[in-house]
């Protein structure tokens, strides 16, 4: 009886709410999936705020062909199975026209699988695992460079300026860290750099000394780390404590470009390099404006993740404007024909190597100088000259 009651209750509940999603015919709804809670909430927040800022501007300027654009945000909590459920809900229940967002690589993968299967276009703006655009999925488009291209600027800096012979690669055991380390190792092999230490670690650790002691022992020229912000801070602090002095420390973006990094690492963040995908002084129209507007509106810093989200919003609006109708295939076609400039850079989806529907952009190298993140490479775009070689004793005094 109880089981019957339960099932009946369920059925009626679902029946009632099954039809509860009518919407006004003149708003265009797009689903955005981000980690709003969970470990990656910080980044999810920057992206959400950027999406919202862009949305306000787009609608104030007349929306999409007169119709209001609406973003439905869903929280993937940083877990792929939740991301998957969120995507399903947005597609089948909310009947969105397309999907955007996608922060963590695992989550992005899961969403992409759902989108491709349901033939709904998905514009990825952060998920970086190369494989996401290597599946030949025609409904999946990516705005940001894949993780293998993050160290492009670093590679040229290494060959022209540093010329290291040995490197240590430390990475967190997540999709991002794992795939990033493999890609960087490939770059090292190409450049003739010998990888003397390659260690993964569980994120959230307290004590990294064991792994750092190994690095100190092997004394590599370059230490490359792929971490989110708290691990990055602890790694650098403990490296400073152990007095590890390679020629340079480089972060693989993510945690190393956030303002929380110097806040938590203090002196240890100084003169650390990082790969990055964007910087506010780049000569893309509106880049500096976006940065200033964001800081003024939300009283906090933004960086490349926010720019990705902001640009994605504008791409979505542009796509929907150009699409012949609201059918998924017309939207997909409009996406594939995208050719526009955004604050994040030019956006045009092409195929190269094994990838399809991938936007191709250069990447840059930044360095923490006197507590501020400065663009240092390529030289022509630098806001401050790079500091190298580095006298660690002076920096850490």
């Amino acid at each position: 009886m109880k089981k019957l009651l339960c099932v009946v209750l369920c059925l009626s509940l679902l029946g009632i709410f099954g039809g509860a999603s009518a919407w006004a015919a003149d708003t265009l709804r797009v689903g955005i999936i981000l980690p709003i809670t969970g470990a990656k909430a910080k980044f999810g927040e920057i992206e959400k705020l950027s999406f919202e800022m862009a949305l306000k501007e787009i609608n104030a300027a007349g929306g999409v062909n007169g119709k209001k654009l609406e973003f439905l945000f869903e929280d993937d909590t940083g877990r792929p199975e939740v991301a998957r459920s969120a995507a399903e809900k947005l597609i089948t229940k909310d009947k969105v026209l397309m999907l955007g967002g996608g922060y963590g690589s695992s989550e992005t993968f899961a969403i992409a699988g759902v989108a491709q299967q349901n033939r709904i276009p998905f514009l990825v703006n952060t998920g970086s695992d190369d494989k996401i655009t290597e599946q030949g999925w025609e409904y999946i488009f990516r705005l940001n460079p894949p993780v293998s291209e993050y160290p492009k600027a670093l590679a040229s800096f290494l060959t022209e300026v540093v010329k290291p012979k040995t490197a240590a690669i430390l990475y967190e055991n997540t999709n991002f860290g794992s795939s990033g380390s493999q890609e960087f190792k490939a770059i090292c092999q190409r450049l003739g750099i010998q990888v003397v230490v390659e260690e993964g670690y569980e994120h959230g650790g307290v004590d990294f000394k064991p792994i750092l002691v190994k690095v100190k022992d092997k004394n590599p020229d370059l230490v490359y780390m792929i971490s989110y912000v708290m691990d990055a801070s602890l790694l650098m602090r403990q490296a400073m404590e152990l007095r590890i002095k390679p020629k340079l420390f480089v972060g693989g973006a993510a945690g190393f470009t956030l303002p929380e990094f110097p806040k938590n690492a203090g002196k240890a963040a100084e003169k650390v390099f990082s790969a990055t995908l964007w910087y506010q002084t780049l000569k893309y129209p509106g880049a500096m404006d976006y940065y200033n507007k964001f800081v003024a509106t939300y009283k906090k810093d933004t960086e490349y993740h926010g720019a990705e989200a902001y640009a994605a919003a504008y791409v979505i609006a542009d796509v929907l404007k150009r699409a012949k109708s609201t059918s998924p295939d017309d939207i997909r076609k409009a996406l594939s024909e995208t050719d526009m400039m955004t604050v994040f850079g030019p956006v045009k989806f092409i195929s190269y190597d094994k990838k399809t529907n991938q936007n191709r952009l250069p990447t840059y190298l930044v360095q923490w100088i006197d507590g501020r993140l400065e663009l240092v490479w390529p030289k022509e775009l630098a806001t401050k000259p790079y500091v190298y070689p580095i006298d660690w004793d002076a920096v850490w005094k």
């Binding site: 650790g205 000394k209 708290m230």
Partner: protein, 291 residues
């Protein structure tokens, strides 16, 4: 050679922190035979209190110890009195209800912390955070050395307390045989409330001392609870000295495992030791001594 020494040093210092976390649990498990799966979450609460005191009152964590420990004592006592003690009388199929209750408590504490403070990472950075003492090229992180010292002091204090004071003796009596203690006039219910509170206060000390060298987020409880178990089982239930020894053994094993096997498997080392001790040395290291 330097690699080996530094690794061992790092392990010992980490062991001090672990020991602090373990002391509280070994007391709770030893006395009340409760497996407290909310242990790490209690530590998390103490860390948030420390954080708030630092951010808004600019109180140094070492001073905050004098606030977090009593606060958690009260919290622990309340939890024991209202949520755990009643279970002793409940008739149910599975005796493991107490354990599951602590799971529920842990979940609620974590989510309340998340509601108030959100999921992003918080930290405190007093000036001494990265200071190190150096013996040659071997670095000794200062806050960890201090934490180690405090762990030893607390252990000695607890040891004397259990040995010499009346309350302490009542605690030991209740641990050894509850019925007999009741017969001898020990108010067992009050003692369990007191013990849980004391255990919580001890893990509060661990959290407050850990905060300057780590960081804070609502979900950190789980990992530390697991470590606490390993230490408790390793050292032997109810053995205060066992907790220190267990902590150091775990710390050093993890360190050596991380350096010589793989950093990624560091936590697995602890789990393997845990299993081996559970299976082959059921009383923990305590069995090898008389303390």
């Amino acid at each position: 050679m330097a690699v080996f020494i530094q690794t061992v040093v790092a392990g010992i210092l980490m062991g001090g922190i672990y020991a602090l976390i373990g002391i509280g649990m070994t007391l709770i498990m030893g006395v009340m035979k409760i497996i407290n799966l909310a242990h790490g979450q209690l530590m998390m609460v103490a860390m948030y209190i420390t954080y708030v005191l630092y951010e808004y009152v600019h109180l140094d964590p070492y001073a905050a110890l004098l606030i977090t420990m009593p606060c958690l004592f009260v919290l622990g006592a309340v939890l024991q009195r209202y949520l755990l003690n009643p279970l002793i009388k409940v008739d149910s199929i599975l005796p493991e209800n107490q354990v599951l209750m602590t799971v529920g408590i842990g979940m609620v504490l974590t989510e309340l912390a998340r509601m108030i403070f959100h999921s992003d990472y918080k930290s405190v950075r007093p000036p001494y955070t990265s200071m190190s003492l150096y013996a040659g090229s071997i670095a000794f992180n200062l806050p960890m050395v201090i934490a180690f010292g405090i762990a030893v002091l607390l252990t000695i204090g607890l040891f004397l307390f259990l040995l010499k004071t009346d309350v302490g003796k009542s605690v030991r009596a209740t641990a050894q045989n509850k019925e007999a203690a009741l017969l001898l006039g020990v108010n067992a219910e009050r003692i369990t409330i007191f013990t849980y509170g004391l255990g919580a206060a001890l893990v509060a000390a661990a959290g407050t001392l850990l905060l300057p060298i780590y960081y804070l987020f609502p979900d950190l409880g789980g990992a530390f609870t697991l470590k606490a178990f390993v230490i408790t089982i390793l050292g032997g239930l109810g053995s205060t000295v066992g907790a220190i020894v267990g902590g150091v053994v775990l710390g050093v094993s993890e360190s050596l495992g991380a350096t010589y096997i793989s950093m990624a498997l560091k936590d697995a080392v602890g789990m393997v030791i845990f299993l081996l001790v559970l299976i082959f040395l059921p009383g923990g290291l305590k069995r090898l001594t008389k303390i």
